[in-house]
Symmetry: C6
Subunit: 83 residues, 6 copies
Amino acid sequence: MNRLPDTELVYIPGGTLITATPEEGRALAMAIARHTIHNIQPDLDPLKAGRKVYSANPDSLIAAGQVVAIEFQTIAAANNYWR
Amino acid sequence: MNRLPDTELVYIPGGTLITATPEEGRALAMAIARHTIHNIQPDLDPLKAGRKVYSANPDSLIAAGQVVAIEFQTIAAANNYWR
Amino acid sequence: MNRLPDTELVYIPGGTLITATPEEGRALAMAIARHTIHNIQPDLDPLKAGRKVYSANPDSLIAAGQVVAIEFQTIAAANNYWR
Amino acid sequence: MNRLPDTELVYIPGGTLITATPEEGRALAMAIARHTIHNIQPDLDPLKAGRKVYSANPDSLIAAGQVVAIEFQTIAAANNYWR
Amino acid sequence: MNRLPDTELVYIPGGTLITATPEEGRALAMAIARHTIHNIQPDLDPLKAGRKVYSANPDSLIAAGQVVAIEFQTIAAANNYWR
Amino acid sequence: MNRLPDTELVYIPGGTLITATPEEGRALAMAIARHTIHNIQPDLDPLKAGRKVYSANPDSLIAAGQVVAIEFQTIAAANNYWR
């Protein structure tokens, strides 16, 4: 098994949901979504193989976008929407 | 790789969730959803190819509409629903 | 391209999430969901072709119903649930 | 076309999200979900044909259950969870 | 038709969203999700046949888990998260 | 049947939604999601067989990630987002 490094297996990179800006909050949403997948499948080889498939499939891209949207709801609420 | 320009890769165009009107909030929801896809797949060629497929597939259109609906929930809350 | 009229491409018909009644709020949820699809695919021909397919497919109808449910969550919250 | 009666096409049966009990709230969630489908497809014949298909398909039943769950979130919030 | 007993067709078993503990709240979420399916399909025979299919299919199990997660969001909010 | 041990069938491991950190909250979200699947399918053999399938399928991984995202919304709200 070609195991991902531990830094890719942290659930919440940085350890907090609070960010300075919406842009950083969105980057965190993407990172959290990605690290969840890494924890379910920590072997880099099937991840790389899967990447080729889903990144060329519009339905998969839409589904991935939906997960990020849900993660971002949580982070945006945590930051009082950066009002 | 036919890489998208950097302006298409910003996560939150304009850098804020606050908008003057619901119409602008909805446009932002669509932009954020689109830019997420761009960040997952920054190569314009598979995006263009995928566009032909999903824009003619009602199930894909419904799924895309759902992602926008979720993004809009966040933006509408951020703006206190423009009450 | 058989382009939809501009009135079908407004994101938030009426420009507000506030409605007098739950019934009107639900109608707005359906309109917003539909106009999102129109903005992603503004050509009437593939929309009409897709309509025949999805309106006879129970899974597509369930998926469409889910999008309306999510839009309605936002509108109902905006209206303090018409309490 | 074998059109559904108008009573099946009202979006929010009863015209309010407020109910006396959680049981009635859940029944309303199911009715709203069903009436949305009716408004998208108001012809009884494809609905009846689709019913045979989806009610015997576990994935369709799970998807239908998800829509009801989302509608119920809105109704439960409207009723302050009947606390 | 091999109809489920009436106890399996109540929408909200116990008639309230309030529970003593998170564990009981989660059990209620599962019961509500299951009873929704029962109300859509009250014939035990297709339910039993479907059970064999979906309980051996990881995608179906993930989808079922998602419905429970959504029901639990509502119940957890109703109980102020048992803080 | 190769039944999972009782510890894998508790709905809410630890019995509370309150955690010290976002990292622990995310771990709890993953555990709750997993235990829900265990309760629907408590036989280890089909779970192990399914694991091979879904962990190599990007669409399944995205769907699993979505369930965790929804569970985490609840847990993050319960903890006032660890602000």
